[in-house]
């Protein structure tokens, strides 16, 4: 009886895992087969025409890159500061450190649509920017700060205690220790946290829906006030919801494939770093 039970358990869990693997494979297969039909140099370098039925997705890609770059610039300083504050500046295991850690984990799970509405309150309501790329960039930046900060903090906590003591023993101030030991040795974790965050930011639609993205007519912004961008996720969102002419369907799949590739690149780049950190975390 024991043998049969073992086989049954292995089979059920195995088939579930196989199912998940199959699902991932199927999604990739669908995206690649349907999307590659539209992919061509022209598709990536021309602007959209006839509401998505023809032309390329140049400005959508450019817009997404602008949003992601802005998000990185906005998020980096805050993620660094929050990570170092939680893991080192606040006494470890003290109440403030634990509370900050808890807040960061909550912020990580705030629905992105609430960020979109937060943008309406701040940028449209208070600052009266109308649709602006900067508003979108800031919101996406706010979204990825917790992810990067938590990864940085975990890495700092696993840094070798000896080096920190030795540096303090020399009379180095906390600022020196941050610059000379903590940052250099945890930069990899911060970078991979940022990359994971940026990968998610590139694919988000909800935060940019109200304050940053338009469907047509925008190219490279030349200011802040009333300067929206096109964005790949928003382009797909509008096309998916609205038009179904045969021509725009292939372009729609093409845009989807480009977005998934764009999103997977930073995530893939982060994998080698995360393995290194994972091993380091195990040995520390």
């Amino acid at each position: 009886m024991k043998k049969a039970l073992q086989l049954l358990s292995a089979l059920t869990t195995g088939s579930a895992a196989a199912g998940v693997l199959l699902l991932a494979g199927a999604l990739a297969f669908v995206l690649i087969t349907r999307g590659s039909a539209a992919i061509s140099p022209a598709f990536l370098t021309q602007e959209t025409r006839e509401a998505g039925a023809s032309g390329g997705i140049l400005w959508q890609i450019a817009g997404t890159l602008i949003l992601v770059a802005t998000a990185a610039l906005v998020a980096l300083p805050f993620a660094t500061a929050l990570g170092i504050t939680r893991a080192w500046l606040l006494p470890p295991q003290s109440r403030p450190a634990r509370v900050l850690g808890f807040i960061l984990q909550l912020l990580n799970a705030v629905p992105s649509i609430l960020l979109g509405i937060l943008g309406l309150i701040l940028f449209t309501g208070m600052l009266g920017w109308g649709k602006s790329w900067l508003a979108g960039g800031v919101l996406l930046g706010i979204m990825i700060v917790p992810t990067a900060a938590v990864m940085l903090a975990n890495r700092i906590e696993s840094l070798p205690r000896g080096q920190l003591d030795a540096a303090a023993g020399l009379g180095l101030r906390r600022g020196h220790i941050i610059r000379s030991i903590i940052l250099p040795q945890s930069a990899a974790a911060l970078l991979s946290g940022m990359l994971l965050g940026l990968a998610r930011a590139a694919g988000e639609t909800a935060p940019i829906l109200f304050v940053a993205a338009v469907f047509s007519g925008a190219t490279i912004p030349t200011g802040i006030h009333e300067q929206p961008v096109l964005a790949l996720p928003y382009h797909i969102f509008v096309l998916a919801q609205d038009s179904f002419q045969e021509a725009s369907r292939t372009n729609l799949w093409g845009a989807a494939l480009v977005l998934v590739t764009l999103v997977s690149l930073p995530a893939l780049a982060a994998i080698p770093m995360r393995h290194k950190l994972h091993n380091a975390a195990d040995h520390a």
């Binding site: 006494p91 470890p92 295991q93 003290s94 000896g162 080096q163 003591d165 030795a166 540096a167 303090a168 023993g169 020399l170 009379g171 180095l172 101030r173 020196h176 000379s180 030991i181 040795q185």
Partner: protein
């Protein structure tokens, strides 16, 4: 006798309601090597870390009593602990080398804490490595990674790194316990050389080393569960060295010696043994 650089009076340290050191008093002077000896776990390292306020970097420690540096209590509000640690250097049992070149390691503190020109930097590098007796072994590979040095060389590198800040006091926490005899001898020779211009506080549980290098020795014991100063004397003083070798507090914490100790303490035998074991394991 010159007035003491370090004057510790009734120092009492507790960690989360557990007493570790009870009313320890001792003094250290320039031109002298003060030895602190005793079984492991009696609080020698904790005492050392209290002197340059490294203890407050870990949560849960409370320090009472006075530690005077040049007659000025180091816990006064206007004392900057970082500047204090520049005046009181520290060498750990396990040498800790930063993952960078030998030169950058030596100047790791000085380059950041002093405004040094290029030539001053080279001069300081030269003098520190010489004072740590490491110059000849590394002078032509200063820009190699320090991680490739032997343990003994790494410990001397740490010494050079501390000396680069020209501290008045050097605290050494069992600096040779991880080293081979040749490296140990090199360190001990450096301690005797440094004695001329600096004050050295050496924590060790190597009796011969204490006899060889210290001018004055303080023996900490864990009589009733926490570290106490049993006595302090000249190491080579006949009476003191005899007491040194046979007093139980000095003996290493092997069970046999514990039984001997508990019989002497009479009635509190059971409590004594438990307290000792817990004290030892805490170290």
């Amino acid at each position: 006798m010159p007035d003491p650089i370090l004057d510790i009076r009734d120092l009492t340290i507790t960690a989360r309601r557990r007493l570790i050191l009870d009313r320890v008093s001792l003094q250290a002077r320039r031109g002298q090597v003060l030895g602190i000896i005793g079984p492991s776990g009696v609080g020698k390292s904790t005492l050392l870390r209290a002197i340059n306020r490294m203890l407050e970097l870990q949560p849960g420690y409370r320090v009472k009593g006075e530690i005077r540096f040049h007659g000025h209590d180091i816990h006064d509000a206007d004392v900057d602990p970082d500047t204090l640690r520049q005046r009181i250097g520290m060498i750990f049992q396990q040498p800790v080398v930063f993952p960078t070149t030998i030169a950058k390691n030596v100047l790791f503190g000085a380059a950041r804490l002093r405004r040094l020109g290029k030539s001053e930097r080279a001069a300081l590098l030269d003098s520190s490595l010489r004072e740590a007796a490491l110059w000849h072994e590394v002078k032509d590979r200063l820009h190699d990674s320090a991680l490739r040095l032997s343990i003994g060389q790494q410990q001397r590198l740490c010494l050079a790194r501390a000396l680069a800040l020209d501290p008045e006091v050097i605290l050494m926490d069992e600096p040779t316990s991880a080293l081979d005899p040749k490296a140990t001898e090199a360190i001990e020779e450096r301690i005797l050389a440094m004695k001329a211009t600096r004050c050295v506080v050496l924590v060790t549980h190597n009796l011969d080393q204490a006899r060889r290098v210290t001018d004055w020795v303080a023996c900490l014991c864990a009589d009733n569960g926490h570290g106490e100063l049993r006595f302090s004397s000249f190491p080579r003083d006949g009476r003191a060295s005899a007491m040194l070798s046979e007093t139980s507090c000095w003996a290493s914490s092997t069970p046999s010696s514990l039984r001997l100790f508990s019989s002497v303490s009479g009635g509190r035998r059971r409590l004594g043994r438990i307290a000792i074991l817990s004290a030892c394991s805490a170290g």
